[in-house]
């Protein structure tokens, strides 16, 4: 025989008493495995969705506000034969049925060639959903469902008209900001045919329209252009799965650098034969600063120009309308055009202007011109110059090419045909002006120093309109080569986004449901382990004389504990294995819950069951390890008994009537401290009051448990002259096993407290959403449009143009925000937001709005932080919703997030404040001036927070939708949005309460076990009572009174502590309480407790007590 045999034989003999251990470990492992597998299943489902979203697409190169050659994709493909490159035009749109019965406002439009479908494994010949390269639409099933349309029906898709010149730029046209495509739907594509294609890592499928690329290019007058190139595999599978060794991002960046052309940056080189020069110019009017820098870096001779449109030239009383004026600077050009002695406030005018204005040297020339401010506000300014001289119209002075390409002007035959992007009174155009236009087009009539011109007209888009180089000995190709050498393609958005890698990472690092469910099942684990190991302890207590004998034989306590440990270990492992099986079922149950009652937590995503062996093993080992730890702890407690105590009948000796003297003091301190903490906070902000009452409830609970320990001790010490009743006999028994009693009271009270008080954190939108400090910020609506609005929506002069001049909009105010697309960082997105959407606005508009959980700094209003420069000028401050920052971004206040600006430069965004439970969720908010600096081409406003009177909001919302329908507005009541966001957290709380409630029910089952155990231990006493004539129902009353007292005390302490915690819900207006659910929970717990106590009493009294007595 070996020592191990002792454990083995013990197990074989006492296996029944170890079933409790098995139960505890089984439930624990099941809960852990179940929670982890839910996490695995969600990650797997998100991975599948990412794969479904991208199919063969690996990377994308997106330049949202610029356009490059679509042929760049073909150039790349020539260099990289293994990868499939496709040019795409990506635009925002709204879509509606032709009869207007259905409308979807946030639609993504992809102009794609047939080769696009090869990413879905569809061959270019014959398999394309397009049946021709002309006017037709392919939509995805999401849009089809929302519009209730299908193939063969006609749709109207209104896309943003993406002019080459940013709409915020001077001279940009206000006309045709949107274009409508009315075409038939030729196919509806589902997930298997790239119907989920999107750049955003989100589980929410986007409504999508696919249009033949050529058709879209023609329709928006951007022939041959694209703003996105995709790369990937033409098999429908990821490159690595398709067996293709894909290039690294670095390799692909290198490819771009080798294949791109100046044209891809929107620049062009034109020949100016009269001047024997090359001119570098752009359709965007203003040359990007990076090109200016690159030009300087070439070291070539150059002449720089900024040519601007003057509304009027005035000398004395003579006025010449609508004339161009150029600022010029010669670099290394000899002789210079601008004399070196021309002062900053001096001007040279051509002889035509001198004649027209009857001006001569020494006269003053006043130039009036428009400057475009924020929201396209036009400001007419003027500058006065002293005429230095009059120059003949020859050479550079008669060069019409100096006028940049001004849309609506430079392409018109007559001045009367102009359609400038500014309000010009064309009736002022004279006949001689028309003649000048016919003869000289936009040849500038005046010339000033470049520095003066830049001081007047420089803007965020640039400070030059042309750069000229001598063509002597310089070919066009050499010039282009020289310039490209000094320009990083990333500056123009020509850098690759690793869509697949980021998509998979976003899913893998997204919401960890495993962790959430693990945490939410915590109380089940505690209850199961407590119950299981209480049963184990009962088992070994029965064997205390054996244990004592082993002591007497010289076995050390550690050896005995090790023997008992080894005896229980196989049961524990078996419990773990059984737990894994149960865990698989538990996973299915949780997934069912997530797809039905708890759908608010994850939205419409269908989470598919997925189990990995690694997770199961980890869950199994965790369950077993937890069991082993509790087993060791249980044995440690048991081992504290002395040998003498072990020999004494009944096991551990409880000293009657004694308790530590400080216990009552501590108890009363807890009760009073809890009440003080809670009620002392009244009058402070809601957050402080809620947290104080929560903490106060905890203190109250601790105090109550201390006092219940004192009560149990007193019960044990009661006697003497005290009038004895049957019920009293029962209650007095409580003191004999104070530890057990306290466990019952503690488990019930703590469970009730946890389950009910967590409900206090339910988010309620409340009845005061009009308050600026509320989660809605006091706003009535949130608006987001497919196309941007460029004008100030609050300015009366613009309202007519925007169809907002209806009297019902008089009291409606808009806070307009610029939007940079990114990931949704709200709790509605299960993926980790890699780059949240950025919104740029004027912080002054937001002062006093929302409440804040945490602010990085001591300021009166956190929004002012967006205006406060940070120490590092490359870091810009941002505000977000606190929950978004903490959970969706997994970041924190004071931390930074890297972003890439329009020029491809990385800059940091520092999170300076987190708003409390607000509609700010999902986005980060920065100062508009920072936004413009980093995204100068992102014109207009697509995001709006809307203030509106509390009355008739539904009608106002509907009217807004109608008025703004051209820009595809999605108008959501702020309260509705907040409710949607709150629903997520509230669902998690519901899950916690449901699982916690299960734990409490398990705890009440433990009460039944204790009843059975107590009666079993005292069967000799009951035998004596039976012997002296006690009827069974009297004994039952005794047992019931004893254990119901425990139950009621636990219920009372837990209930009172919970009531204190949820007290703010009774007094604060913005918080509510699910009374129905709480009453049901308490009733459920009470019924369960009564049931188990009753059942256990009945079972216990079936014992033949007299037989026990006779045997003794």
């Amino acid at each position: 025989m070996k020592r191990g045999d002792l454990s083995r034989r013990g197990l074989r003999y006492y296996w029944r008493s170890h079933l409790g251990v098995m139960f505890g470990v089984t439930v624990t492992t099941a809960v852990i495995v179940g929670a982890m597998l839910v996490g695995d299943s969600l990650r797997f489902s998100l991975k599948e969705l990412a794969q479904q979203r991208l199919m063969g697409v690996e990377r994308a190169m997106l330049s949202p506000d610029r356009f490059f050659r679509a042929d760049l994709a073909a150039d790349l493909a020539r260099e990289d034969a293994g990868t499939h490159y496709v040019p795409v035009l990506y635009l925002n749109a709204s879509a509606s049925t032709s009869d207007g019965s259905g409308r979807v406002n946030k639609v993504q439009v992809f102009g794609v060639p047939d080769s696009f479908w090869r990413y879905a494994g569809i061959p270019s010949s014959g398999g394309s959903p397009f049946n021709a390269d002309d006017k037709q639409l392919v939509i995805n099933d999401v849009l089809a469902q929302r519009l209730e349309t299908t193939s063969g029906e006609s749709l109207v898709v209104r896309v943003a008209n993406p002019a080459l010149l940013p709409r915020d730029a001077p001279f940009s046209s206000e006309e045709d900001v949107t274009l409508a495509i009315r075409a038939d739907v030729v196919d509806v594509v589902g997930p298997e045919r790239l119907g989920r294609f999107s750049l955003q890592a989100s589980q929410v499928a986007q409504p999508t329209v696919f249009v033949p690329l050529h058709y879209l290019q023609e329709h928006i007058e951007l022939e041959g252009k694209a703003n996105m190139i995709l790369s990937g595999s033409s098999t429908g599978l990821p490159l690595h799965v398709a067996g293709v060794e894909g290039r690294t991002v670095g390799d692909q960046e290198g490819l771009i650098a080798r294949t791109w052309r100046l044209e891809d940056s929107g620049m062009e080189i034109i020949e100016v034969p009269e001047q024997q020069a090359w001119e570098l110019r752009t359709d965007r009017v203003f040359i990007d600063p990076v090109v200016e820098e690159a030009s300087r870096a070439t070291g070539l001779e150059e002449r720089r120009f900024i040519t601007y449109f003057g509304n009027a030239f005035t000398v004395g009383t003579n006025v010449a309308p609508f004339s161009m004026i150029s600022g010029v600077k010669d670099l290394k050009v000899d002789p210079p055009f601008i004399p070196a002695d021309l002062a900053e406030d001096e001007v040279l005018i051509n002889d035509w202007a001198a004649s027209d204005l009857e001006a001569k040297a020494g006269d003053e020339l006043t130039v009036e011109y428009f400057i475009i401010g924020s929201k396209r506000t036009l400001e007419e300014r003027s500058a006065t110059f002293k005429i230095k001289g009059v120059i003949p119209m020859q050479g550079l002075a008669r060069d019409p090419l100096l006028m940049p390409n001004l849309p609506g002007i430079s392409d018109r035959e007559d001045c009367s045909d102009w359609e400038p992007g500014m309000p010009l009174n064309l009736s002022k155009v004279r006949d001689k002006d028309e003649k000048y236009w016919d003869a000289h087009r936009g040849t500038p009539k005046a010339f000033i120093r470049l520095s003066k011109g830049q001081a007047l007209w420089e803007n965020r888009f640039g400070r030059l309109t042309a750069i000229r180089y001598s063509s002597e000995g310089l070919t066009r190709e050499a010039l282009e080569e020289a310039l490209l050498t000094h320009i990083d393609p990333a500056t123009y958005g020509l850098s690759w986004m690793a869509l697949r890698e980021e998509g998979l990472r976003a899913g893998a690092e997204g919401i960890d449901l495993g962790q959430y469910f693990g945490g939410m099942s915590f109380f089940i684990i505690v209850a199961a382990l407590a119950l299981g190991f209480m049963l184990f302890l009962f088992g070994i207590e029965q064997r205390r004389r054996e244990v004592a004998a082993l002591f007497a034989m010289g076995y050390r306590a550690t050896v005995i504990k090790r023997l008992l440990f080894c005896e229980a270990l196989p049961v524990l492992i078996a419990g773990g294995v059984l737990g894994v099986l149960l865990g698989l079922l538990y996973t299915q149950a949780l997934l069912w819950g997530l797809s039905s009652a708890w759908t608010g937590a994850i939205g419409d995503i269908l989470v598919r069951f997925h189990a990995t062996p690694g997770t199961i093993v980890i869950g199994l080992l965790t369950g077993i390890l937890l069991g082993m730890l509790v087993l060791a702890w249980t044995l440690r407690c048991f081992g504290r008994q002395t040998i003498r105590e072990l020999f004494v009948a009944g096991g551990a000796v409880t000293v009657p009537g004694r308790h530590r003297g400080w216990l009552p003091v501590l108890g009363f301190m807890g009760l009073l401290g809890g009440l003080g903490m809670g009620f002392g906070s009244l009058g402070k902000d809601a957050e402080t009051v809620t947290m104080s009452f929560y903490g106060g409830g905890g203190l109250f609970l601790m105090g109550g448990l201390c006092l219940s320990a004192v009560w149990l001790a007193r019960k044990a010490g009661q006697g003497g002259t005290h009038a004895l009743t049957v019920a009293d006999m029962g209650v007095r028994n409580l003191g004999r096993r104070r530890g057990r009693g306290l466990v019952v009271i503690g488990t019930l009270a703590a469970g009730i407290y946890m389950v009910i008080s967590v409900g206090a954190f339910r988010q309620f939108t409340g009845a005061h959403t009009e308050r600026p400090s509320s989660g809605t910020g006091g706003f009535a609506f949130i608006g987001e449009s497919a196309q941007a609005v460029y004008l100030d929506m609050n300015a009366n002069k613009n309202r007519k143009e925007l169809w907002l001049d209806d009297p019902q909009f008089d009291d409606v105010k808009f806070i307009q925000m610029r939007l940079r697309e990114g990931d949704d960082a709200s709790c509605l997105n299960l993926n980790k937001a890699q780059r949240p959407r950025l919104l740029g606005m004027n912080p002054a508009d937001m002062v006093g709005r929302f409440s804040f959980v945490k602010v990085d700094g001591d300021v009166e209003d956190p929004w002012s932080l967006l205006d406060t420069p940070l120490e590092n000028p490359d870091v810009i401050p941002a505000i977000g919703d606190y929950n978004s920052i903490m959970y969706a971004l997994k970041s924190g206040i004071g931390k930074t997030i890297p972003y890439r600006d329009e020029q491809g430069n990385v800059f940091q965004i520092k999170l300076v404040a987190g708003a409390k439970n607000s509609i700010l969720q999902g986005n980060l908010y920065i100062n508009e001036k920072h936004f413009i600096k980093h995204f100068p081409s992102a014109s207009g406003y697509r995001y709006f927070l809307v203030d509106a009177p509390a009355v008739n909001r539904t009608e106002v919302a509907e009217a807004l939708r109608k008025s703004l329908q051209d820009i595809g507005p999605e108008i959501i009541p702020a309260e509705t949005r907040l409710n949607e966001l709150n629903a997520v957290m509230n669902t998690y709380i519901s899950v916690f309460q449901a699982l916690g409630g299960l734990g409490v029910l398990l705890g009440s089952l433990g009460l039944g076990v204790i009843v059975l155990r107590n009666v079993f231990e005292r069967r000799r006493e009951f035998g004596v009572l039976r012997a002296v004539g006690y009827p069974l129902n009297l004994l039952r009353r005794m047992i019931l009174s004893e254990h119901l007292a425990l139950f009621l005390v636990g219920l009372l302490i837990g209930g009172l502590a919970s009531l204190l915690t949820v007290f703010p819900a009774l007094i604060l207006p913005d918080i509510g309480l699910p009374w129905g659910w709480l009453v049901a929970l308490v009733l459920g717990i009470s019924i369960s407790g009564l049931f188990w106590v009753g059942l256990a009493s009945r079972l216990a009294l079936k014992s033949a007590f007299l037989d026990v007595l006779r045997n003794d």
Binding site: R9, E546, A548, L550, A552, M553, G554, R556, T642, I643
Partner: protein, 226 residues
């Protein structure tokens, strides 16, 4: 001298901690190797308490228990356990056999505390069991034995490590007279053969009379009754 009990006192406090109950008020006696001794006295006089102190299951409030010249109060818990295993054998009124082990295995349990069971141990156990008339019951479980047989197993279990001191607390208390007489004879026989000192706590005069010495305990004090 094998055992020297020097002025041993044992006190317990009442639950309130206000009063002290002095069970033993200064007990001294010696036991030589091979000596047999009975401790008698009325119920509650402290007999079992004294036996627990002698067997190092409990520690005295004052005084010393000296075994083979070594004061046991200086030993750690582990050292006391080894002492009990190697030097002392216990027989309880309730035999406290392990119900899930066979008779033979129950006897070998003390061996296992510090060593692996070898065929030598098994052989020795078999011989001892044979000696007490249980040669046919070696593979039986305690539940299949009579009270007297269980007590004989407990007796053999106490002897398996060849202790120098055998302590028995009412060893025949739960047995009928015939069985009790047989067991008493056996105890004495083995006592003589193995030169093992023996202290028996008993109410049974028939058992006490057969010991070489009798100590009577009363009012917390002890005196030589015979």
């Amino acid at each position: 001298m094998l055992l020297d009990i020097r002025e041993v006192k044992k006190q317990y406090q009442n639950p309130e901690g206000t009063e002290t109950l002095e069970v033993l008020r200064g007990v001294s006696f010696q036991v030589d190797a091979g000596e047999s001794m009975a401790i008698v006295g009325p119920s509650g006089s402290g007999k079992t308490t004294l036996l627990n102190l002698v067997g190092s299951l409990d520690v005295p409030s004052e005084g010393a228990v000296v075994f083979e010249g070594r004061d046991l109060s200086g030993l750690s818990g582990d050292e006391l356990a080894r002492h009990r295993n190697q030097s002392v054998g216990f027989i309880f009124q309730g035999h406290h056999l392990l119900p899930h082990l066979s008779v033979l295995e129950n006897v070998l349990v003390p061996v296992l505390a510090y060593a692996a069971v070898t065929p030598v141990h098994e052989e020795k156990a078999r011989k001892l069991l044979d000696r007490v008339g249980l040669d046919r019951r070696m593979e039986h479980r305690p539940g299949q034995l009579s009270g007297g047989e269980c007590q004989r197993v407990a007796f053999v279990r106490a002897l398996i490590n060849e202790p120098r001191l055998l302590l028995a607390d009412e060893p025949t208390g739960a047995l009928d007279r015939t069985t009790a007489d047989g067991l008493t004879a056996l105890l004495l026989e083995l006592n003589r053969e193995s030169n093992t000192a023996m202290i028996v706590v008993t109410h049974a005069a028939s058992l006490a009379d057969r010991m070489q010495r009798q100590l009577e305990i009363a009012d917390g004090l002890i005196h030589e009754a015979r």
